[in-house]
Amino acid sequence: MEIINFTPVPAFIGGALIGLSAALLLWAKGRVAGISGIAGGIILPVRGDLDWRIVFVVGLVLGGLLYQWIGLGAGVDHIRAVVDTPLLIIGGLLVGIGTTIGSGCTSGHGICGLARRSPRSLVATLSFMLSALVTVFIVRHVFGG
């Protein structure tokens, strides 16, 4: 193992902002800040439960723009996809399928669910962490990506 690019301070600050966002949404709207859940409710909407979801996702994009506009930290110019188009499509499909079957993603289970000490979210988080670790191990060290 070799540790690279370790940036604990921006990571912690960014994480704290995400936690603050989740707390704000719970305090104001009584809802969990799970991104896959919020986005899923836009794709197949329930009547009367759509507007805040769209506004939240617009906010996500505005938050990204704000970061670029202020010119903070590492910026975004260095960011590239790590796989070719076919694997991007497979990856995106699996993220959509998995988060829908498993009722949540990194934010809903990993940050909101664990904060409420939900055993269901703990099992979900352990499941996706395990399969993500195994996937990267196979891609990088078995096939030698």
Partner: protein
């Protein structure tokens, strides 16, 4: 204009979330995949993202839930399911494979639309298609389970 404060809160929450993901560089899939590469070039940073988020939210949540109701809504709508079923494990495992392959989970994917290129549009489109198809299939399965 009773909707305004409610929507403004959702907007600010979204901005905080997208800004936080950007500051943490979770929008860089190379950094995400290095976090998952414990046996190779490991970048432990993202553990601090989850740690920071969890710390703030775990402190705030019990205080917030002491309220009778949220500020701009009638009641708290928390996930109701508590049982550990097959779906929670299978869904998590499938999601993890996609996350490990491409280095994108839903939040960073959507935030990255702020500098969208063909790759980002491709994975977001695939994610939305995967979500739509699965929601339709699950809705049909559940309806069949209720009325055999």
């Amino acid at each position: 204009m009773s909707h305004l404060p409610r929507l403004l809160a959702a907007l600010v929450a979204g901005i905080l979330f997208g800004f936080g993901l950007s500051v943490a560089q979770m929008i860089d899939p190379a950094k995400v995949v290095n976090f998952l590469d414990v046996f190779g070039t490991w970048d432990p940073s993202l553990a601090f993202v989850m740690g920071g988020g969890l710390l703030v939210n775990a402190i705030a949540t019990p205080f917030i839930l002491q309220r009778a109701r949220p500020v701009f809504a009638e009641f708290f709508q928390l996930p109701k399911k508590t049982e550990i079923d097959r779906r929670i494990v299978i869904g998590g495992l499938i999601f993890g494979v996609g996350w490990g392959l491409a280095g994108y989970c839903p939040g960073p994917m959507l935030t990255s639309l702020s500098f969208a290129n063909v790759d980002i549009l491709t994975i977001v489109a695939a994610y939305l298609v995967g979500t739509l198809i699965t929601r339709i299939v699950l809705t049909r399965l559940d309806a069949r389970a209720v009325t055999p």
